[in-house]
Symmetry: D2
């Protein structure tokens, strides 16, 4: 396994391919997390995250995976037995529901087919029907990493407003932040959950919450027990450039470097680049005669594309062949999609030739696995990439 | 601040000086956390942690700071309103008490003077008095990082047994594991809490729980809400070499390397080395005519030494001078000790000459800060180091 | 320029894409080049190079570029005014001739068209004609990096033997070692010249000479002045595990790691892998309707492919577009081929998907540069790669 | 040997302790040495070296050890049989003489006792006596790394001028550049030889020549054969930001970072810092009752201190004990001083506490080796360091 030459292609939808610059940054000697050098680091990353979330509200950083940040969004804003309106867009939305239940919340879980985003009309309908305001929060996943379908947060915001409902809006932007245009303030999001290892180009181990004033106010009344995830402790300490508990210093070194890279490229360019990659990938899938899982073109993800495996073929067997023969990791079908799809990630520190290599690995892998398909997907992708202005 | 030549001396009691080997290890490209290479990594670190804790019980690894692992110990074993017997050995014991309270537990907090470890007789007395078994857990800090006083976990275990009390024994070994002999199984500890950035030589961001069968059984009945910290999810996934949530892969790379280093040196040598450093440091303090905070020689910490600043002098002003003139970070007095002590850490990837440099910085810093002291501390320490067999 | 996302494709024929493992290895702290740790390092790399050269003769390592090692081959074996038989296979052969002339040697330079390797019959003819044995050495380039044409060292050896001529055989294996089967002993080579940054996977800065007993004997009589390049000093010191002058320690760290990688993969697999890449690349070139510079199929290089640019198009303008739009460096036409060809390197730490990305960049670049070509080169290459057993 | 905890103390007079920043810099992926990113790198290091040499003349960079750069100084300026006036200041001056002889030059070698620098009066006397101008160059070592004695280049310049002699002045500044004030232009040096691994903080593998107009003019007439070392090729290519042969790119990454560090600190501060370290070290040696090898206080080296071992004791046995017990490498006695001295390096990326650790290792090592000495050297050094303004 270890004697494989060349660079591994890490085409799972997170962790993404971490830039060398970031890897070197995290290899800096750890420093005193209460000293002046740390304070300078903390201020740069705390301030620097705001434009990435497109917010002027505080963003807190946990030493945790993204799941921890999802938990933080719930325990800081809600009380035992509170109802949260959630939507079955896929595996991660389902996991968030399971978490809510484990934490003692009541999840009103709107069923879905894992091939669409959230329907804003359903949001409006449910909230309008909730006359006694039992629903305390609406929790949606912006980019369902398990399906490659996005939901329109702007439209969901409008639906909430149209219903005149006071529920908080909690958004999981774990695999969209730094890939897809995301506007915490403009879209009136109350808590945005994200983490380090997707569009933010840092190895896993940092979780984020961007927090509106309304959410902070909710926290004062929220009675779910919390300590590690408590915003108040965090925000108070962050104001002084420190953390209430020892932070993951070396990952913060990486975050500083990654944010410099994102800003050097320009977020608009970053988003445009991901859109190009999504389009080119779908062209390849179409040329192969395969089907994209997401059936709503408006919801196509710029970060990853989930592809349906033809009936009678096991997507996981295909992925194993691709790993063994071409040293590329593709995303698995999760939960009820296990074995039925594979996911091609095209997010993060990624460029045209890496995408071409990725799609080549899929094309050769399909052949090697004996999956029926039509050749030419890579060529179709190259045509797509070539006909638009390159990001570089 | 950045033009300072040479290596920074990071002599706070954690994060410790991270070895170059570990820093290079964490700079490896992040891998698929569900692929075979990760499974091999996970098995090595999960199995490898057991001898470090001297346990054959499962050890779980969180993407979190040590504080998160402290929270995990409570929420997995206890129910709202449960009583935990805790001891005011210092700042971190107090913080753990505060956490317990925030989580809805009742903390029976035995007062202390921050200059001793836990008195096992007090443990026995309290438990004997607890006839209706209200106390569900005894929670103690093995090595109080804020004071440099250790508590005898073996003696506390005996006290619990002498009282015939069924309470769980929860131990914070955050700054002792990998520095001071620690025996999870032999001492009958139910949950040992630790983390990456002290004796385990890895940057902060990993928290650990070693968990006895009795603790796992308690978890089934414990009703504090939990999801991220839930042992069951973790242990079940770990059995397959994976994690329920994205792990901090790159820190795990570091952990693998660090455990290889600890095992290459041999834990017995590691512990003996720290004992030598503690002894030499106290010789220096005595020669300077200063006072060690810990007043019980049996409780002296091999990991750090807290030194009392003579009255009328500000320990933080002294520390600032040491940082500015000698590029060394010393530990601050925390909580009620702020400004009154400084802490010299001598733990982790540390050797005789680094200690000599450290104590030289303190000696020169005392002079530079105008603190009254007697010269010769470094010489006394060198004599102490020289008269014992070096660990190397 | 610096905000380009993703990994650069370094497809010049050396330096090749350096593996991350090697880059981390060279980042180890520099050590005492006279201490025991260095001696262990030196022995491992000195011994380890022998199987790479397929020799049991000593290999010396210079802190130098490959050009320095080429100079060492001449100054250790020859005297002022000596005649060397050299062959105009391309730019690097011409540079070696120029070097010989600068050093005061007489170069008998057999003209060539830069599209073939050395003709062994010409070697035999020249040597047979050299009745008074004026020719002291035959110097040939195994893999002409400027043209992608190889020469058969085995056939040249036979030609020398057929002529019964005592000339030394000096071979530049700079871009073949570690890519193409190379047998110093079996082929009776007297001095093999190579360096770190091509098939040996290490950044530039190390030059090598593998030296036959006959070459060492010649050195005793050779009168070209030499000091830094002197084999005798080097071999004598190397026997004790040290170097006469401070070695490039950190690059040796990299060399140790790289040789472990090559041996883990197995040299036979390494060579087979490069053959596959050469074949696939030529299929792509053919599909594009372009012409490979090398016109002798037996001489096709497995390490790189030089492609002729259609008349009226500037290869350097094309390369600039590829760099700007696709962040890939291609090799330039050197010397008299400037602007007329571009070179696609497929050597070193390289795999199928990296090659697919590389060829995709060429295909898109041809379109972007307005060069007339037929689409489908990448597809042809994928077919070629797929129909053979993968190396991984 | 590998299980030694903590940081190695590399206290040989080069390679010095390489800064982490530089080690990370050399771990960057190698780039195309003919592309625009390289040109930017080349320009920065080529321009940046000039202030370090205090020159406005060109500085060339070889992929070589310092010895290669010493050879370059000779072969570019001299012709076979030319006389060079050299001075036996120690081992490295002797090695340079040996090199000159090997290259076919005539070395007029002024004997010395290895405890002084060059006597400028002797320079003047020899040159004045050289009425037929046979002496073509005066070659001196600025800081004799083998003895810790410096020579006054300014005074030697004056002596040459006083004699009215046209000889070139060639200076080996290998272990002084970046440690000790060095002025190529002001002192009228024709060729300054240096390298990467001492005061310039980069691992070994780069050699430098700073070259006066007079030296460049000499090169036109100099007839020693040369190719790799030829200045003309180098200067011509450098003007375009490239190199005639593949440069040691990754070491150049390190050089760029190191020069930024030196400039951030400020050369005046760098020199003052080394002076402090020399003074403190000699105070320690005096307190131990040992003797410094250099007997001329005006010639004491700020970069290293050579200490005489008391009769009957083997310096190498002592150094072995220091390495085994304290993981510190000290410099050996070289050539005729083997076993009689040890050398304490205090150059490069070094600070007060590292020096304190270093001297502590010597003090404990003397005791461990049974060498008669008086305790208190470290204390004396701390007093010396403390009484002067810190460099930080």
């Amino acid at each position: 396994m270890w004697a494989v030459p060349g660079r591994h292609f890490l085409q799972i939808p997170g962790p993404s391919n971490i830039p060398d610059r970031v890897l070197r940054a995290i290899a800096q000697p750890t420093i005193d997390h209460r000293g002046p050098a740390f304070v300078a680091l903390a201020r740069e990353v705390l301030d620097g995250l705001q434009p990435v979330f497109q917010t002027s509200e505080p963003v807190v950083i946990y030493a945790s995976s993204g799941t921890g940040a999802s938990e933080a969004a719930l325990v800081n804003t809600l009380s035992p037995g509170d109802t949260v309106l959630m939507f079955e867009t896929g595996h991660f939305a389902t996991q968030w529901r399971d978490m809510a239940v484990r934490l003692g919340l009541h999840a009103e879980f709107v069923p879905g087919d894992w091939r669409h985003g959230v329907d804003p009309r359903e949001v409006e309908r449910r909230l309008t029907d909730d006359r006694d305001r039992a629903i305390k929060a609406v929790a949606v996943v912006h980019n369902e990493t398990s399906t490659g379908a996005t939901s329109s947060i702007a439209a969901i915001r409008q639906a909430i407003d149209a219903a005149g409902h006071p529920a908080l809006l909690l958004v999981d932007a774990i695999s969209s932040l730094g890939c897809i245009d995301y506007r915490h303030d403009e879209w009136g999001v109350d808590v945005t959950v994200s983490c380090s290892q997707k569009g933010l180009l840092v190895p896993p181990g940092l979780g984020f919450n961007a927090i509106s004033a309304k959410a902070r106010a909710s926290a004062a009344a929220a009675r779910l027990p919390r300590s590690y995830w408590d915003w108040q402790l965090m925000i108070k300490n962050n104001a002084a450039g420190v953390f209430p508990f020892t932070p993951a210093t070396n990952l913060l070194f990486g975050l500083r470097e990654a944010m410099r890279m994102l800003m050097d490229e320009g977020l608009a360019n970053v988003f445009a680049r991901h859109l190009r990659f999504g389009e080119a990938t779908r062209r390849a899938v179409a040329a192969w005669g395969l089907e994209v899982l997401c059936v709503d073109p408006a919801a196509y993800s710029p970060a990853l594309t989930a592809v349906m495996m033809p009936a009678g073929h096991d997507a996981d067997a295909f992925r194993r062949i691709v790993l063994q023969r071409f040293d590329m990791s593709l995303g698995a079908g999760l939960g009820k999609l296990k074995g039925q799809i594979f996911r091609i990630a095209h997010l993060g520190d990624f460029n045209d030739l890496m995408l071409a290599g990725t799609l080549s690995g899929v094309e050769m892998g399909l052949a090697a696995a004996g999956v029926p398909f039509t050749r030419g997907g890579v060529t179709a992708a190259l045509d797509s990439l070539a006909c638009e202005t390159s990001a570089s």
